[in-house]
């Protein structure tokens, strides 16, 4: 019974990882940038989620507000930070991104205080019983349900709409796509908008599960999401989803069974290194 519980916990955690890492892998696929500041939008989403919920009492409104606002901030980050650095070696953008991420944590701390915020009236606190003795919080059901819905929507969008096809064409070969009349610039903006919106939604969900938003809550996702997209094979969307779920489940089991030898992060990275030694381009890496 313990193993079923651990597995479900792993899937919940994995869904959150997937929502965060997907935006990161989209950015990498298009620009070859390791976008650490992506986690800043996760935290931003969480803050907006709590503030809007406390003001209006509506969680759906909070989710929408967080996604929209973070989406626009993500587009601004691309325009102001990354676009001028595209012709430079990738580590320049990486350091710029890390600087941006540190600055964001400081801005959250200075604006909202170091101790974090909570929901005044936390929504979705009930539990449902799956079978005897095994409960799942409503929040956790929402995490899994929302992730599946959003990722399904995205899959449909990218395979069945003109915009989605233009986007995939750009990822495959930007120059040919441009020659075929795709506006690369708007594809990039769309990319940052969607990726950042997903991260913000993940932020609201984590805020909901922990009933706490802190300035530093993005630090674990900032490096863990990098590990996930590398594990999946940089730029591969299926690989990212697979890696997110695998890591969620392995961490859940690992902290119980080998937690005395390695902490949670070390388990994740030990798994990462082991996989990369066997498959140097990640689980589903191209070429």
């Amino acid at each position: 019974m313990l193993s079923v519980e651990l597995f479900v916990q792993g899937i919940v955690q994995g869904s959150i990882y997937a929502l965060i890492a997907l935006g990161l892998t989209l950015v990498y696929g298009l620009l070859r940038i390791l976008h650490v500041a992506h986690a800043a939008l996760f935290t931003l989403g969480a803050y907006i989620g709590v503030l809007v919920t406390n003001q209006t009492g509506s969680l759906p409104l909070a989710l929408a507000a967080a996604a929209l606002f973070a989406g626009f901030v993500g587009m601004a980050i691309y325009k102001l930070a990354y676009e001028p650095l595209l012709s430079r070696p990738p580590y320049i953008a990486l350091i710029a991104s890390i600087a941006l991420f540190i600055a964001s944590e400081e801005i959250y701390r200075i604006t909202f205080g170091p101790y974090g915020l909570s929901f005044v009236d936390p929504p979705l606190q009930g539990q449902i019983q799956l079978f005897s003795g095994f409960y799942l919080k409503h929040g956790e059901v929402l995490v899994i349900g929302l992730s599946v819905t959003l990722l399904g929507l995205l899959a449909w969008l990218s395979s069945s709409t003109r915009t989605g096809i233009a986007w995939r064409a750009t990822v495959t070969d930007p120059e040919i796509a441009q020659a075929c009349g795709v506006n690369i610039q708007s594809v990039r903006y769309l990319n940052f908008f969607i990726g950042s919106a997903l991260a913000a939604i993940a932020g609201v969900l984590v805020a909901l599960l922990n009933n706490l938003v802190e300035p530093t809550m993005g630090s674990v996702p900032s490096y863990k999401a990098l590990a996930i997209i590398v594990l999946g094979g940089l730029g591969s969307i299926r690989g990212t989803l697979l890696a997110a779920m695998a890591l969620g489940v392995i961490e859940a089991f690992g902290t119980i069974y080998i937690g005395r030898m390695l902490d949670r992060d070390a388990i994740a990275f030990a798994f990462l290194i082991a996989v990369l030694m066997v498959r140097p381009r990640g689980l589903l890496g191209a070429r």
């Binding site: 650095l85 430079r88 953008a93 350091i95 710029a96 600055a103 590398v230 070390a266 030694m277």
Partner: protein, 283 residues
């Protein structure tokens, strides 16, 4: 005077540490996001040995050896994974190092190692030792860069496949860069341990690895003078920003961002542009 000596020692250790990463990332082009693990290996080795009453100077080569041993292991992974995959693998090494050290009682676990004995060199003597080691490695770096080995490193950094095509034994040179770079990081770690005389696992984590990479890139990756300058300044910058108190990390990150955004080739590039084209007709 005591405060200035402490400050200068901190700078010298950072310069040595940053130059050791510059050897791997700047010369040989292997970006590492986990270099603090080698600083930590050296620091723990040296601290545990001097606590067991081994003379401090004797622990320096031993710290270099243990760090280089770990360096060979990570260097071997660099033969398997490349570019961004390598950057994230080395980042994983930093997390593994911290994760393992935290759980080992003989390494002090979460609490860390305290009561590290003094070196017996005195404050000034220790400062002179740190400065001479940093200067010696800077000179060595300058020498290597102009040597045949330096050219091989540069060709690997520029394009590994072409280098291989030219008949260069790429794995061997990559490993050499890792061994030298990590051994020197180990020496810097031994100095670090006896400078602060207290070690905690978190001092050698991801943040420390990122800040040393920031020093290398802000200085101008591959440039010995630029990196030494940037390391000296950046290591004490948070202290100099004490006057803005609550905003010092914000100011630091804003500066770092501005540097990347407006002068991506670092201090070295800034100086070069200034000297070559002059301030007026730049751009």
């Amino acid at each position: 005077m005591a405060y200035e000596i402490t400050l200068l020692t901190t700078m010298a250790i950072s310069v040595l540490f940053a130059l050791s990463l510059n050897f791997i990332s700047g010369f040989c082009g292997q970006i590492s996001l986990g270099h603090a693990a080698f600083l930590g290996t050296g620091a723990y080795t040296s601290a545990l040995l001097t606590k067991a009453s081994v003379p401090f100077l004797l622990t320096l080569p031993l710290a270099a050896m243990t760090a280089a041993l770990l360096g060979v292991l990570v260097g071997l992974t660099s033969l398997r994974v490349r570019h961004d995959f390598l950057a994230i693998t080395t980042m994983g090494v930093a997390f593994l190092f911290v994760g393992i050290v935290r759980q080992q009682d003989f390494l002090g676990g979460e609490i860390g190692v305290s009561g590290i004995p003094p070196t017996g060199l005195g404050r000034v003597g220790f400062l002179i030792l740190a400065i001479s080691l940093a200067a010696a490695f800077a000179a060595f770096s300058l020498y290597v860069r102009r040597s045949w080995m330096g050219f091989v490193f540069k060709s690997i950094a520029d394009n590994e496949d072409v280098a291989r095509l030219l008949g260069i034994d790429v794995p061997r040179y990559k490993l050499a860069a890792f061994v030298v770079g990590t051994a020197v990081a180990g020496v810097a770690g031994a100095l670090y341990a006896h400078h602060f005389r207290f070690l905690a696992p978190d001092s050698f984590g991801f943040i420390e690895s990122v800040s040393v990479l920031a020093m290398v890139i802000v200085g101008g990756i591959g440039s010995v003078w630029g990196v030494a300058f940037a390391a000296a300044i950046l290591s004490v910058l948070p202290l100099m920003f004490q006057f803005v108190n609550d905003f010092k990390l914000l100011l630091y990150s804003a500066l770092l961002f501005a540097m990347m955004r407006f002068s991506p080739d670092g201090v070295a590039g800034l100086v070069r542009r200034f000297l070559v084209t002059g301030p007026r007709n730049r751009g």
